[in-house]
Amino acid sequence: MDIFANLAVGFETAFTLANLFYCLLGVFVGTAVGVLPGLGPTATIAMLLPITFGLPPVSSLIMLSGIYYGAQYGGSTTAILVNLPGEASSVVTALDGYKMARQGQAGRALATAAIASFFAGTVATCLLAWFAPPLASMALQFGPAEYFSLMTMGLVASVVLAHGSLFKAVGMVVVGLILGLIGTDVNSGATRFTFDLPPLADGINFVIVAMGMFGLGEIIKNLEHEETRSMTIKKIEGLFPTRADLRRIVGPVLRGTGLGSLLGILPGGGAMLSSFASYSIEKKVSPNRAQFGKGAIEGVAAPEAANNAGAQTSFIPMLTLGIPSNPVMALMIGAMIIQGIQPGPGVITEQPMLFWGMIASMWIGNLFLVVLNLPMIGLWVRMIMVPYHLLYPAILLFCAIGVFSLNNSDFDITLMAVFGLFGYLCAKLDCEPAPLMLGFIIGPMMEEYLRRALLLSRSDPMVFVSSPISATMLAMSLAALVMVMLPALRKKREEAFVE
């Protein structure tokens, strides 16, 4: 199949008035969320999911992905202007971006972020278009044993790349897998872990878990350390970088894009790890390394390119294999299932309009971001100044209405509160909610494939190592686990996350 013919299908789908509107709406809301403090993309997507139920599948996925990469982008605006990254992946952008803003170069920093993000987004979208179809056709050959091993590898990678304690992350994955079991067993019809509560018979909706842990839990944590933010920006001017600036950022942007694209594909990688890694690389290779941390333009360009590329390529495992690489992708998978689409390698061949439409919309969305952000910077600045104590009651309200409207059930609201409490306790104990979310979504699929693989092999567990593909994936998972447990590497890993 010709990639240009495919992209033509995609642009045809994306260029309808309705889909352009949802794309624009998505990136607009996403940017707003990225700019607003204390509200991550995971909670926002969970909150807005119910609104997309009535939309056609393509439009709803276009809008949701727009929110995701829009939030990536909006986070950098706050990072540069007020030194408060709205999003974890923008933490390193704040290091040099805010220094530049303090020196009166906010415009230069913002423009650099925009250019770097747009370039990276374009490249990553092309990579997605090139690599997704062959990957998916390879995955179509997979049997249940290969799928089980693939999911194991995905979960292991998400644990290895998560920050914090390795064993706690593994524990959270398993807790997620167990939570995913709640409900009716497909094979036997038995209800499991429902405590005889009828609303639990269908299992817990992933939106409730995400809103409880990422929404409520986060709010309680933020209230504990309520910050005061002050805005000391002078007028923002000089939104055009000079030719000399452009020459300085070419290298960092290219390296950031490459690294981000690569890390984005890995489960658990995504935008955050990409931006951290690319910043530390630039700090080592840049000829201006002495300037880093004091307002180096390279320190803005590289991580911004990397996090946008990573955000985009993290769609690859989700679209080709049906395996989420981060909580946002887990929510996207949930959104697809609600729309009646079985995520996995079949999507590309069975729903070409949906697949290519989404890819085309990503490029359009990246273009919208540049257009939206630079001229409308005044609006975003005003949004930054919305005080948190007026913001969080409104967020809670949206969470409550969103969860209630899933099934018109007040039980769901109670359940969300339970997960809010659990999420807060986990935060207190330094247990990451992201691995739990991945386990929760993957759990039921994993059980299904494990059962099927062992049924087909007549209960011979060797089936997982007799297939070369499955054996390779399990070996890689094992190697990754052993490697991070080695003391020398473990220290390195901790250092990498401290920075």
Binding site: I51, G54, S165, F167, K168, V170, G171, V174, V175, L177, I178, L181, D185, N187, S188, A190, R192, F193, L216, I219, I220, L223, E224, E226, P387, H389, L390, Y392, P393, A394, L396, L397, C399, A400, I401, F404, S405, N408, D410, D412, I413, T414, M416, A417, G420, L421, Y424, K428, L429, D430, C431, E447, L450, R451, L454, L455, S457, R458, S459, P461
Partner: protein
Amino acid sequence: MRFIRSAKDFWSGIMFLAIALSTIVIAQDYPMGSAGRMGPGFFPAMLGWILAAIALVVLIGALTKPGEALEPLAWKDLVLVLAAVLLFGFLVRGAGLAIAIPLLIVVSAFGSVKFRWKPTLALAAGATVFCVLLFVKALGLPLPVLGSWFGA
């Protein structure tokens, strides 16, 4: 308890262990089946044992390696946020949005150290009007503005 060197890890381990043990106990009630024909209890029991093993590793780590102490819980924020949400769930059908929304806003806003009546009440009023217009009028969600308790 001087032998606990990392309180955070210790309580994480206890939490994992509690979840693991309840999973194993509950899974006993479901047919196990065999590895080739797994019953509904097989996979849960397996996960329970894996989690129990992880819990032990975390607990051993907490006793041998130094780590962070546990910060106290922010009880006030915790209770207010959860109460606000639960109250909304309790009231939304019976009393309707016009009562459930302002209460959620005011109760949760109490959690902030910067709470002041005037802006909070203004926010409550604005949010109520906005949500009724957006969710009930524009999106047509089946949410009552005034609920069944008022004969609506």
